[in-house]
Amino acid sequence: MRKLILSALTAAGLFASSGAALAAGGGEPLMKPGFSWDGFFGRYDQAELKRGFEVFNQVCSNCHGLRLVAYRNLSAVGLTADQIKDVAAAREVADAPNDEGMVSMRAGRASDKYINPFPNDKAAAAANGGALPPDLSLMAKARVGGPNYIYSLMLGFKEEAPHGVVIPEGKYYNTYFPGNAIGMPPQLMEDLITYSDGTKASQEQLARDVTAFLNWAAEPELNERKSMGLKVMIFLAVFTALLYALKRQIWKNLH
């Protein structure tokens, strides 16, 4: 049994190190602020998700898409049905052709996926100095470090690049971005938005909240997953203990 545990640990160590090996060559280790959804009992903080949505909706969504999340899903971050309708209606999409075959624009609906800020990737890149703002639906799963990466990147901008590092025109220095030259300008200024719950919008607060929202966008099932996991584990612990007792009982008379 001891050997079994030992080899499991060896294997775990191997996977962990092979994962770390893939960390892009950004240099600095990521900040690890700790999140409410970390760990065995972790869950999203509803107030944080809602604030994060406000940051995303008022700031990020001007350039970034969230194409895998539907407006109706926003009820999970605490928006009411009316608020969802308003958020969706703020943008227009092409409607289905009418009876004459004409295509006109209509306001977004709750059932729509988040409408992209640009009609296509070419337009998005052209409007952003040639750098395409990536869709953020899966950002928290699509980068090494996940939410830590998003949080670090948000706070990783430096006015001056370190000595000897040349940042091209139209790019910005970010400690955590692979290659350090990022097309996105620094975003999170103090009091950038006014939170509806009155929280003070410091840079760290904004970064933390938008990270929470984006993690929710990538893993909307997390709360359900972890609470189901707990129930399953309790069941399995009892069930396996009973199986072990039964095994002892059956094997006892063997000699």
Binding site: A11, F15, I250
Partner: protein, 405 residues
């Protein structure tokens, strides 16, 4: 331990025409098993259990998956977000693949430690290697289906390996791709084969169990069962022991599914495939890493591919390369040391396979590759001649009773 008997007329009517009840009685209940199997013998039944989980979850995933390059990625995300418990089914399937390999690797190393591949179990061992090969093909093609960046580029790199073969190489690659690049036809044929191969694995598992039941299980002592005193019926002794193992395993497996579902995956595979953007490091799934390290250790492409295939082919010859008559490492003091060295070397190769091919990783993986083959081709043939094994017990029961006293 008697044959199948029943008072039920319907069952006996059926059994006389198709002896399924007799067969179950014979193969799953009375089946004589060594009385001294340890928990390392649980991993075969565990692997079969995971195979069933993979088939079931896979069948439900297919109901919601679209195998077109323009739809595949989003259809997987739809499973994750909109299909009822789709996230659970997909995470079970995704982590189940890694579990399958963990279990099978333990199963293989257990086989090597206790010399289970030796006569009369060579064919049993061969069928096992065939299962392993079929698993690798299935896992590789399955990883392509979500059509993320690593799916696409992994498929590109691995299929390109076949172009190393002279004359036929390029034709094989075109055939695999269904065109002149990894594209929609590639995805479609991989999907088709990913659904087919698991049933081939099921067939091979049946043959594996058939061969097992013909030659019976090896055991930690490596001496054959000689009489009634050495064996116990499979049921209830090993049915309950296997069930207990399944309980423990499920806790390990579901720990990943519920708390770290992407632990074994690559973040890049959550970026949709883009033929215009190459990821900085293209890495296969962890279970291929030792073989990937061997592939890259050889500077020549063709020789690298051959070395990679040879790393598995050599396993077929293992029963004859190992010249020792004694099976279990328990009685082979020198082999035991080299077994653990070989194990550590495999882990090290896996570590190197995940690193970029630069700096000290290159000579290290070359040394580890040489050692991998030297273990089979030099050490094992020599050891049996040089080593003086400890005295074997007269029988399983004699050893067990001595231990208990």
């Amino acid at each position: 331990m008697s044959g199948f008997q029943t008072n039920n007329k319907v069952i006996s009517w059926l059994d006389e025409r198709l002896p399924i009840f007799s067969m179950m009685q014979h193969s799953a209940i009375d089946y004589p098993t060594p009385r001294n199997l340890n928990y390392w013998w649980n991993f075969g039944s565990l692997a079969a259990f995971v195979l069933v989980i993979m088939l079931l979850t896979g069948i439900f995933l297919v109901m919601n998956y679209s195998s077109h390059t323009s739809l595949a990625f989003d259809s997987v995300e739809r499973i994750m977000r909109d299909v009822n418990y789709g996230w659970l089914i997909r995470y079970l399937h995704m982590n189940g693949a890694s579990m399958f390999f963990i279990l099978v690797y333990v199963h293989i190393f257990r086989n090597m430690y206790y010399g289970s591949y030796k006569a009369p179990r060579e064919v049993l061992w061969w069928v096992g290697i065939l299962i392993f090969l079929a698993m690798m093909a299935t896992a590789f093609m399955g990883y392509v289906l979500p059509w993320g960046q690593m799916s696409f580029w992994g498929a590109t790199v691995i299929t390109n390996l076949f172009s190393a073969f002279p004359v036929v190489g390029q034709h094989i690659v075109t055939l695999l791709w269904g065109g002149f690049a990894v594209d929609n036809p590639t995805l479609n044929r991989f999907f088709s084969l990913h659904y087919l191969l698991p049933f081939v694995i099921v067939g091979l598992v049946v043959v594996h169990v058939w061969a097992l039941h013909t030659v019976k299980s090896n055991n930690p002592l490596g001496v054959e069962m000689k009489g009634e005193a050495d064996s116990i019926p499979f049921h209830p002794y090993y049915t309950i022991k296997d069930l207990f193992g399944i309980g423990l395993f499920l806790m390990f497996f579901l720990g990943f599914v519920f708390w770290a579902p992407n632990f074994f995956g690559e973040p890049d595979n959550y970026i949709p495939a883009n033929p215009m953007v190459t990821p900085p490091h293209i890495v296969p799934e962890w279970y291929f890493l030792p073989f990937y390290a061997i592939l890259r250790a050889v500077p020549d492409k063709l020789l690298g591919v051959l070395a990679m295939f040879a790393a598995i082919i050599v396993l077929f010859f293992l029963p004859w390369l190992d010249s020792s008559k004694v099976r279990s490492a328990k009685f082979r003091p020198i082999y035991r040391q080299f077994f653990w060295l070989f194990f550590a070397n495999c882990i090290f190769l896996g570590y190197l396979g995940g690193k970029p091919a630069e700096g000290w990783y290159v000579p290290a993986s070359q040394i580890a590759t040489v050692y991998y083959f030297a273990h089979f081709l030099i050490l094992l043939p020599l050891l049996g001649k040089v080593e003086k094994p400890k005295a074997l017990p007269a029988s399983i029961s004699a050893a067990v009773l001595k231990e208990k006293a």
